[in-house]
């Protein structure tokens, strides 16, 4: 399948919200479908052949995920998604330490721009006697290693830093942050939901203890994700919920073999295609930004441009409210922030952390370019955005064109 070919007619609506979710790759769907029908054994039914066939498929997928992350297959636990992985990693590590550790370290350090589920998991632990600490970021959205080092002068149990931000796409220096955390005797967790398949990940080299992965952010299905749990030295966790004892007791419940196969195939494709895909998406991103800069003088990009995944633009428009622009562009799917809070009126806490005021945050849109974005999509989106910004409906604009 050649994705670079310009389709005769652009897709409608044009989907440029690939940080919210991605289209499930048709190759991933094709890999999954047989597992929905012909192969319906429960992968935990090791007693009969149908269970063992499903189990083998799950283990192949585990290897594919591990290989993408630079991990050992035995370090991969399947979950329902990155939100569950983040909950297990943060609450599980804290509760294990509280129950079996010396109880000295109660501090949990994270960053103000993390995903809601990380912030809430850390905040929830306050009730259990832990001390949450939320570190600021610079105007570029990056965590200053010196700020982390300072925070860790107080003995700390766990540090959680996302590799790539979901709104502004900036890439944190995870290797450096993990090293600082390890040197200070803390566990290190990283939310990789937006990073996997976009930047090279090497969990072994990075010395991370825990890491979270999502299927639907990498052209896989929704409802599946993974948690990396380091083996040597072993990161220890209490499960969020128990039961059948699947996934080495870290995560109970029947594994959805088809979705696991989908995550495996999505991981395999990501590993294989990341370099070429990043280059292609980077070209599209530049094409979009250059077009918008020419059409809308004064447009500004939020967050570091040097340390950023290629597929993300987070743009503050000079004159028009984002909400009004969205209403004029029914055929363009972009967003005002993270999907979880899209319906909320509140300005993005990520943008506020960068120092944007509410007015500027209210003039900001997130544009997420992905595997299935064509150059024609980019050209349409740029002109639709420019039209909407000048107060015209994208449809009228298109009719004139």
């Amino acid at each position: 399948m050649d994705m670079t070919e310009t389709p005769a007619r652009p897709n409608r609506p044009v989907y440029l919200d690939n940080q919210a979710t991605t289209r499930c790759d048709p190759r991933v769907v094709a890999a999954m479908l047989p597992w929905f029908t012909e192969q319906y054994g429960n992968p935990h039914s090791a007693e009969h052949i149908m269970g063992r066939v499903a189990e083998a498929a799950v283990e192949t997928a585990r290897g594919q995920v591990a290989s993408l992350l630079g991990a050992d297959p035995r370090e991969i636990v399947f979950t329902s998604g990155a939100t569950e992985s983040n909950n297990i990693a943060i609450k599980g590590a804290a509760r294990f330490a509280a129950r079996y550790g010396d109880g000295e370290r109660r501090r949990i350090v994270t960053v103000v721009t993390e995903h809601k589920c990380v912030l809430e998991s850390v905040a929830d632990l306050k009730e259990e006697g832990f001390e949450p600490v939320f570190l600021p970021v610079g105007p570029d959205g990056l965590l200053d290693p010196e700020v982390l080092r300072q925070a860790l002068t107080v003995p700390t149990l766990l540090v959680s830093v996302m590799a790539v931000n979901n709104e502004i796409g900036v890439v944190q220096d995870i290797a450096a942050h993990a090293a600082i955390a390890k040197a200070a005797g803390a566990l290190f967790h990283t939310d990789l939901a937006q990073a996997v398949g976009k930047i090279p990940v090497d969990l072994t080299g990075w010395k991370a203890d825990l890491a979270s992965v999502s299927g639907h952010k990498i052209y896989g299905p929704k409802g599946i994700g993974a948690l990396f749990v380091r083996r040597r030295p072993r990161a220890r966790l209490l499960p969020l919920f128990s039961g059948g004892g699947q996934e080495r007791g870290v995560r109970s419940g029947t594994l959805p073999a088809p979705l696991v196969v989908g995550l495996g195939e999505a991981s395999r494709l990501a590993a294989e295609e990341m370099a070429a895909e990043s280059a292609r998406i980077g070209v599209l991103r530049d094409r979009m930004f250059n077009a918008l800069r020419a059409l809308i003088p004064g447009i500004a990009i939020n967050g570091s441009t040097a340390h950023r995944i290629p597929g993300n633009l987070n743009l503050t428009f000079p004159a028009e409210k984002a909400q009004s622009m969205l209403e004029r562009m029914p055929d363009l799917c972009v967003s005002t922030g993270s999907a979880c809070s899209s319906a909320a009126i509140e300005p993005s806490y990520v943008l506020r952390a960068l120092g944007l005021d509410d007015d500027a945050a209210g003039r900001t849109l997130r544009i997420g370019i992905g595997r299935f974005t064509s150059p024609a999509d980019i050209d349409y989106a740029a002109s639709a955005l420019a039209a909407a910004h000048s107060g015209r409906n994208a449809a009228d604009h298109l009719a004139e064109a």
């Binding site: 029908t37 919920f241 799917c333």
Partner: protein
Amino acid sequence: MHYLDANASEPLRPEAKAAIAAAFEVTGNPSSVHAAGRAARRLLEDARERVAARFSVRDQDVVFTSGGTEADALAVHALGLGRRMIVCATEHDAVRAATPGAAVLPVDRDGVADLDALRAMLGSGPAALVCLMLANNETGTIQPVAEAASLCRAHGALLHVDAVQAAGRIAVDLTAQGCHSLAVSAHKLGGPAGVGALLVSPELSTIAPLIAGGGQERGRRGGTPALAAIAGFAAVCGLGADQTRLAALRDRAEAAAVHHGAVVCGGAAARLANTTSLALPGVRADAQVIALDLDGIAVSAGAACSSGKVQTSHVLTAMGLGRLAGQAIRVSLPWNVPDEAIDAFEAAYARMAARLRPALVPTAA
């Protein structure tokens, strides 16, 4: 291979496959407000409506989870807050693991919960959360849930019902059964694995999430919902199998096994039509399962979750079956079981019993 392990996972129904394949064509995140997001949201809410209708609850009383285990854990987490726990002895491990230190409600020899004991337990002590499954996964025994619910309500207790095995096989209706929450799992209904739901009574105002973040499912369960799997779940709600036919086939399989020396565990109780637990005295369960597997019959030695380790069943032990608890296999017929599967089972069981059963010790005349 004849698949007689439906209680581990029902084969996916074609209606589910079609719905899943269609849902994979929808790109958006249901939380996004743009056109793609709204299409995804529509799919999610249509599915919620069908699931709600199937179990007689309002749309907003359906909390989608990753499956039955998470639904059980969420129920215990949310409903059990500040309450003492009373848990039936034969509950699934998902409930038992979530309720360490719970008082154990005993069962009789057929696995039926002792309601007199429940009354006594409720009468002594502070407000409780009671966990009682509607139908047991190993024996198919159906519990007197409506009666238990009345008792619980009379004592100010909450009742959580694990209906994972019951859904799709007997009537599951939160209002009629009078419980406060119900856990269901799609793959036991002929839907896909990876999705289930906790159905909550409108009486419960708040459900504290087990998985925090994102605000999905009205703040009761964080994380982007498993959209395609949910669509598959909804597609099988309302479908049923011919339970009379399943019961006849099950009875035939059971009679053949009994003829070769098997004892039916829980046979005198009201049971699911598709399930039987067959103990063969003197023969370890794993040996039976392996022999049947090699002979083309897929059954299990109890719950599928134990990950290959065949353990003595806590369910059968609670029923007072002693050594038989390690000598029973579970035969559970899927919705699409062909008649020939039962013929094949009868023949394979006869061969297995002839080979493995210890020589009968002659009894004194």
